[in-house]
Symmetry: C2
Subunit: 240 residues, 2 copies
Amino acid sequence: MQLLWRDPAAVPRHGPRQGLTIDQVVAAATALADAEGLAAVTMRRVAAGLGVVPTALYTYVPGKAELLDLMLDAAYARMPRTGTDGQPWRQRVAAVAAENRALFETHPWAAAVSTVRPPLGPGLMAKYEHELSALDGLGLTDVELDAALTHLLTFVQAWARAAADTRAARRESAVDDGQWWAAHAPLLARVLDPRAYPLAVRAGTAAGTAHGSAYSPEHAYDFGLRAILDGFAALIGGRG
Amino acid sequence: MQLLWRDPAAVPRHGPRQGLTIDQVVAAATALADAEGLAAVTMRRVAAGLGVVPTALYTYVPGKAELLDLMLDAAYARMPRTGTDGQPWRQRVAAVAAENRALFETHPWAAAVSTVRPPLGPGLMAKYEHELSALDGLGLTDVELDAALTHLLTFVQAWARAAADTRAARRESAVDDGQWWAAHAPLLARVLDPRAYPLAVRAGTAAGTAHGSAYSPEHAYDFGLRAILDGFAALIGGRG
DNA sequence: TCTGAACACTGTACAGAGTACAACGTCCAC
DNA sequence: GTGGACGTTGTACTCTGTACAGTGTTCAGA
């Protein structure tokens, strides 16, 4: 908490000066995560990138978990915030979703870090304030405001995780979808009996041929966002 | 794949008989995950529970990832499936959500394992077939059917992850919400200026006092499920 | 019935993770 | 000037997944 807000009360008076700053540590870790994924962010590698021994980082940060918190709050702080005053509410909410989607596209690791007991820092606060403003003025109660935003953000994060997993699976399996299908076709043909699973085979085939693969992040995002907007519309409209 | 379907073509003819079965291995790993969480599922501990050396497991399973796939498919297969024929569609869909919620409550680890390129085994197929049937007959296209189910399941899984994280945070932080709040109150009061973050402070306070904590899984589930059902209603109704 | 290949299982080993701990050197307040 | 506080380092520990060589067991074919 003190770290997140860069509390001046936490800086010591005695001793040698620190050779680095917290922001340098956070920036190095973020660069590593952007380039090679969250798994590459080890204390050893972050330290090596800064020309320092691993345990030296522990004077800047109590542990790895706190470092991740700082990375996330800093990423929140850097998010571009679109001005959508005067636009219809559906566009405003869609813009919030798009901003979060963009965050997860520039920082795929951000979708993977846990967000409960979130990093209550300046970046998150600014983000929260901005996103609430997009939902304000629709006649929702404060509690509904918070719940609606939480619902929207949960969706975008879950989608981003799925999309990232899809990319990762595609990359690391070294076989593309066609080869994978070809390799498993004999067993699947024997086992996926349309008589045993009529709906599943029908819907699965339809989705697969429509999207070109079993799961299409693009289609899932469009469908999900539309469903959420319709759900909000019912909540607003139901009030008259 | 062959493992998931217990393909008889994969059993060898020569050599000594195996002292265990795949199902025993999967059951031991599942019991461990249920009791102590996914992090406790290490090859060493699973092996120890079976009275065997860690590397012996590699004759049953190519690696840890495949073991998790098997655990998940087995859990899917064991899910109780409610019969909801004849009920209104909102109840049918709510029942699907409740079944998945129950899965994540008996097996919290299931929410944490990645589900893209999912374990295409008998358990998943039976689950998929059953859940599609709850959404069938509403006039949706096959592609919409799949997308709607994916959307619903994504929500329940994301919710379950958040709920599990909430429980974990509560447990391991050793301080309850009141103590945490008291410890950080001075800094927060200095830093959370209502003039800087008017909406955030207002909505955050409202949500916090309404639920007794910053995030209420129960409320998030009710709100989210309702929003999703309303979204589906718009999709169905918009067709006439 | 005997033999060789196939296989299950064991023990050892390795690289890499987070971080605790003691030692060393630098700087400020008195 | 000096004592104590602090930054940084090197070493070490436990734990992870799993590769690899070795040992013993079992079955198919001669």
